[in-house]
């Protein structure tokens, strides 16, 4: 278990970042959130299910989503890094309908009139 390694996850900003990531299908948190909703799990229950400390969850959530076509490798990579139960992670990260393809997964375009935030200056001119 890597609890000590992720002590910093207790920091509220990382927690908040992870929750925001969970609203975006480009992150594993999206899949975990769908699973938790379906099972009626809160964070503690989800952490217990995955066999990790609650503080580790924030870090798990900001990983990339498990891809259907790389399922085994993806689950192994994430489970190994965070000390999760790989079978349960595979179960929790089953594809949900809005699961994105790898790479470009930004769900919402910027609102009209917003800054381009330096994300693609060439598109701006």
């Amino acid at each position: 278990m890597n609890d000590q390694m992720f002590e910093s996850a207790a920091d509220p900003h990382m927690e908040r970042f992870a929750h925001r990531a969970s609203a975006n299908p480009a992150f594993l948190g999206w899949q975990l959130a769908a699973f938790a909703r379906a099972r009626g799990f809160d964070d503690a229950a989800l952490a217990g299910y995955l066999e990790c400390a609650p503080a580790v969850l924030a870090h798990v959530r900001v990983c990339g989503p498990i891809r259907a076509d790389h399922r085994r490798a993806d689950v192994t990579e994430v489970a190994s890094k965070f000390g999760l139960n790989p079978v349960r992670l595979a179960e929790a990260a089953k594809p949900v309908p809005a699961e994105p393809s790898a790479g470009d997964t930004e769900p919402d375009p910027a609102p009209a009139g917003a800054f381009l935030a330096a994300r693609d200056r060439t598109d701006a001119s």
Partner: protein, 197 residues
């Protein structure tokens, strides 16, 4: 201002980016751990009047957008550090502008020049002023590019001409067009700040 040495060096940056683009699932988390707090610190130092919550939100948005769509970043144009800083700063300006639209402007605000050439690191930014932020939000994308160059103290006409897509013009016409644009932008901000000169 966050010291550059505290940020991942070029090699580390390249390694993280390579892992992300190669599809490693844990690369997102590594990048978030590496950059999230540093971006917040950077924004807090660059915009000391901005609320901490807004700085956090801007850092979140910049990083989430990048991680969700890494293909939007072109490594040949800009280093990742510079890209994320600029992205986070623009997100912060968006948030400030949005806030300014929903908040009465304080008449006690001190009108500051837009030009930041003489500012020392860590000083208040004119862009913290909601009137300036709102005006910035109303600029066309290429005008924002010009303003960024002005803020950086760039003097080379060709750099402005490139942003404006005017490199095909003769040197004289290029210079005149760039000057017109810079003057127009300065006047807009002067008006926004109540300077009627």
């Amino acid at each position: 201002m966050t010291n550059d040495s505290e940020w991942p060096d070029r090699d580390e940056e390249a390694r993280l980016l390579e892992r992300l683009l190669a599809g490693c699932r844990t690369a997102h988390e590594e990048l978030a751990v590496c950059y999230l707090h540093r971006l917040c610190q950077f924004l807090g130092a660059a915009h000391p009047k901005a609320r901490e919550e807004l700085c956090h939100q801007a850092a979140d948005e910049a990083l989430l957008n990048f991680l969700a769509k890494p293909s939007s970043y072109d490594a040949t144009k800009k280093g990742l550090l510079a890209y994320l800083r600029m992205s986070a700063e623009c997100d912060l300006l968006n948030l400030l502008a949005r806030e300014a639209r929903h908040r009465p402007v304080s008449l006690d605000s001190v009108a500051e020049p837009v030009d930041r050439r003489n500012r020392t690191s860590g000083c208040e930014s004119p862009l913290d002023d909601p009137r300036v932020a709102a005006e910035y939000a109303a600029l066309a994308p290429n005008e924002r590019g010009v303003l960024e160059l002005m803020c950086e103290g760039v003097r080379d006409t060709d750099e402005y001409a490139e942003v404006l897509g005017l490199l095909h013009l003769s040197a004289e016409r290029r210079r005149a067009a760039v000057k017109r644009t810079k003057d127009r932008i300065q006047k807009r901000f002067a008006r926004a700040l109540g300077d009627t000169r």
